[in-house]
């Protein structure tokens, strides 16, 4: 068990280090997320009120799209020099590998959300400072659930030729409830939770994350080893 924790942490730390050094994925996906947010603004027109109303949905769409690239990238990086093969060869439990990869994905999602949220605040003139705590809770739970699903599916598709297409296609329907709950929680947070429904949405996000983490941990070895 302690060995599993050490393995998971080492793997996540390695991914973080490589990301910080390389800065390819983080930089690109952040830029991609920002561009998406800007384009949503164009698509919806200059009406400030409409943008404010749409902001939570657009924020989470941007997080989901950019997050697919960021978390998928963590597995893709392993294939560049055949590292995934070595990873599969280490005498470590597949649960630990999943935990490490999911942890790295979770961290990437947090960075993504942490950067895109202020961008939304600036672009769409949304006051996020008043609701920092509930927004942070939403982001943390949403990021956990998202990373749990994408990590598992990325291992599944990483060796396939059409992975760039297949990964979003498989993941997006699965994370539909997460998107829904996260948007609703964000709306509730920003409005000061007038209906008292924030807790229910956060609970749903937590349930999603917990269920998908378990499913991912159980099935990851079948996704990783062919």
């Amino acid at each position: 068990m302690t060995r599993d924790v050490a393995v998971a942490l080492a793997l996540a730390r390695k991914d973080a280090l490589a990301e910080l050094r390389g800065r390819v994925a983080t930089g690109t996906t952040l830029f991609f997320g920002a561009i998406v947010l800007l384009l949503f603004g164009f698509a919806l027109g200059p009406d400030a009120r409409r943008l404010q109303e749409a902001a939570p949905g657009l924020l989470w769409l941007a997080i989901v799209f950019a997050g697919l690239l960021a978390v998928g990238r963590l597995h893709e990086a392993e294939t560049e020099d055949g590292a995934l093969e070595q990873l599969a060869l280490y005498p470590v439990s597949r649960h630990a590998l999943y935990a490490g990869k999911a942890l790295a994905g979770f961290a990437a999602m947090l960075v993504l959300g942490g950067v895109l949220l202020p961008i939304v605040a600036l672009l769409y003139r949304v006051d996020v400072l008043a609701a920092v705590l509930p927004l942070a809770a939403t982001l943390v739970l949403g990021a956990a659930g998202f990373a749990a699903v994408v990590t598992c599916y990325a291992a599944l598709t990483v060796r396939m030729r059409s992975r760039e297409l297949l990964l979003p296609l498989l993941v997006l329907p699965v994370v539909a409830p997460l998107l829904l709950a996260a948007v609703k929680a964000t709306v509730a947070s920003l409005a000061g939770d007038p209906l008292g429904e924030l807790g229910a949405w956060l609970a749903l996000l937590a349930a999603f994350a917990a269920l998908m983490l378990i499913a991912g941990a159980v099935t990851y070895r079948f996704a990783l080893d062919d």
């Binding site: 599944l156 749903l204 499913a215 996704a223």
Partner: protein, 247 residues
């Protein structure tokens, strides 16, 4: 023997669906509130039930494969997914046909069921697509099982989220599909629905058996082809002198 039973099942399904459909269309009287449109519910509800049943089969097939490593479970999972996608489409189609005259729209965003059913369709179309991308049976079964299990877990969460999304404090939509199963509904309506459910379930069972058989035969074709190419490779490698490959 199996073939005889399968045929009996097929005939039973055909007769049952024909009889129940005829009764649902011409026998049972129209609903007081919704009029004849209510008749669509008699195919809509069985389609939805069978879609869920199919995806249950897919999830169980996936679990069975990962557990027992027996490819027959994977064939069953495939049968469930393919037939489930068809019934999910039927569910949406019947829902749209019912929604237009009753609600005035084909696609009612406020209705949670329509949304979650659409997501369901997307989930399992992805599953079928994934299966097409590899022809190694073990690899395909592994990948499909992962997706089939995750998708099945996703169904209840999707259901709840969409239900709450419509409004946490709002009562059920008036004229919702439950109307036919309402205890207050006349017994004749309930009986018609139950008959349709039973008839379509028999037909469904026949489809599952046949689809499973198809997967089994295709697996044997693939296996024969693999054995053939292995024998050919050996013959070529042995300097053109064919070697006997015995089992």
């Amino acid at each position: 023997m199996t073939e005889v039973l399968t045929r009996v099942l097929g005939w039973a399904g055909l007769l049952a669906v024909a009889a129940a459909t005829a009764y649902a269309l011409f026998g049972v009287p129209a609903d007081l509130n919704q009029g004849d449109a209510q008749r669509i519910m008699y195919v809509h509800v069985p389609a939805a039930w069978l879609a869920y049943l199919s995806f249950g089969v897919t999830a169980l097939g996936g679990i069975g494969w990962l557990w027992k490593r027996d490819l027959r479970f994977d064939w069953l999972a495939l049968a469930g997914a393919e037939i489930g996608v068809m019934f999910t489409f039927f569910t949406l189609w019947a829902g749209a046909m019912w929604g237009r005259p009753v609600w005035g729209v084909f696609y009612q965003w406020e209705d949670p069921r329509i949304l979650s059913t659409t997501i369901l369709l997307a989930l399992y179309i992805g599953y079928l697509l994934l299966r097409r991308l590899t022809d190694d049976p073990v690899r395909r079964a592994n990948r499909a099982a992962v997706v089939g299990i995750v998708a099945a877990l996703d169904i209840p969460i999707t259901h709840f989220s969409v239900e709450w999304w419509r409004g946490l404090h709002q009562g059920p939509t008036i004229g919702s599909p439950e109307r036919v199963l309402d205890p207050a509904a006349p017994g004749q309506f309930v009986l018609t629905l139950l008959a349709m459910l039973a008839a379509f379930t028999i037909a469904w069972a026949y489809l599952v058996v046949r689809r499973y058989q198809l997967a089994a035969v295709q697996a044997r074709v693939d296996e024969a082809a693999r054995r053939g190419s292995l024998a050919a490779a050996r013959a070529a490698a042995e300097g053109g002198v064919p070697r006997v490959v015995t089992e």
